[in-house]
């Protein structure tokens, strides 16, 4: 979906362009906007697949409350992409199932 360029009341800055990848594909977004907003403006609406029924999920609440938008970001699963700011070079993956982090990995991140 496109960015809103003209608006009678609001003035969008849309600056600070950065590159990131979605399932390996290069994309562009704006530093600090939620990852989900950046994906949406690149036309991506499906963020994960549910564990049991394998249903596609997009976002729903956009305020970090519903878990619909979980994705794997830089190797970390279950990231709420609707409230996580986009940074240069992020690797964003569609999340399939529940996602896992090994205990060793979890310790290493501390």
């Amino acid at each position: 979906m496109p960015l809103i360029e003209r608006h009678p009341i609001l003035d969008f800055k849309h600056d600070g362009k950065v590159e990131f990848t979605f399932d390996g594909k290069a994309m562009e977004g704006f530093e600090g906007e939620p990852i989900a907003a950046a994906l949406h403006s690149n036309g991506v609406k499906i963020y994960r697949e549910t564990p049991e029924m394998k249903r596609p999920r997009g976002f729903f609440c956009a305020i970090g409350k519903c878990s619909s938008c979980f994705m794997v970001v830089d190797g970390v699963p279950n990231v709420r992409t609707c409230v996580t700011p986009l940074r240069r070079g992020m690797a964003v993956l569609t999340q399939r199932g529940r996602g896992s982090v090994s205990i060793a990995e979890g310790e290493a991140r501390r």
Binding site: M1, P2, L3, I4, R6, H7, P8, I9, L10, F12, H14, G32, E33, P34, A37, H40, S41, K45, I46, Y47, R55, P56, R57, G58, F59, F60, C61, A62, I63, G64, K65, V76, V79, R80, C82, V83, T84, P85, R109, R110
Partner: protein, 370 residues
Amino acid sequence: MNPAVREAEILVVGGGAAGLCAAAEAAVAGARVLVLESDLHLGGQLVKQTHKFFGSKDEFAGTRGFKIAGKILDEMASCKDKIETVTNANVMGYYPEDGVVTVMVGEDEYFKVKPARIVMATGAQERLIAFPNNDLPGVYGAGAVQTLMNVYGVSPGDRVLMVGAGNIGLIVSYQLMQAGVQVAAILEAMPNIGGYWVHAAKIRRLGVPILLRHTIKAALGDVVVEGAIVRSLANGETFKIDCDIICLAVGLSPTAEILWQAGCEMKYVPELCGYVPIRNARQRTTNDDVWVAGDAAGIEEASSAMVEGRIAGLDAAASLGYEIDESRFGVYEERLKALRSGETASRIRAGLARVSANGFLGGMTSDGFQ
């Protein structure tokens, strides 16, 4: 790893209209305030609104929502040495044994706060209705659509079907058109429009049909929304509407999880749209350390949320021994009374009568807990 416990005199949970006013008021009285907001910016619902607000002049009625937020932030800036704000900070838990509050910043930073007093101003969350395929990507809450288009300037889609003709459904439909998005129709199950006529009239003038006594039967599409089946409740007829977004504006419920955890006595009050805490005239709940303000105390409007915030902030500061001007309470209670007079507020008055300690009716008397 045991993170350090931070101290705070007054913790405000939620940086929307109510929380920011509570913070400003408490800080002016001299208290040190910490505001935690889970979103990436302050302002709550206000920053997502482009229309001029109704409500009271003292609370900036006639000003566009996002500009009202700016005005409160300016007020806070005048006592910024007293107020610390943290965004992207989600309050997750309250432990009544020792009054410790747990907080996540982003996805991997964690800390604890032990505040002397808390003002809960967590606002509301959206309701969902059941229909086949309501989980398809493209079925979005009205708040999500607003966040995308009005905060981040991303168009949510090409053609939207709006479900619900209350104020939110009407206003968000208008905002979609401002953003250049087509609105296919607005569905409303009731026989009349729930929102204000001025908003409905504006939308009808732009040629968008408001279909009364109609509901959504199913969303269509394999992996994303490609349309919807709509059903008339008058004659059972069904038909298809082409759309790539289905926007749900079917009501809000107070966000009350932390109030439950804090052991506040809660009551289900349909007029206030869900479970809300019992409180006194000063917004203090049955947990002596916890106040509540805004939509978390019952779904109402920004003006009353702001006044409730001010009362809560002032009373919380007073309870810590800060000297305050008692007459402020009278002024704020008069404002609430004015906001809650009239026909449209009769529901709110009925609801408040049911959650007020000592039979207190919002803004009608001035005595607090006995």
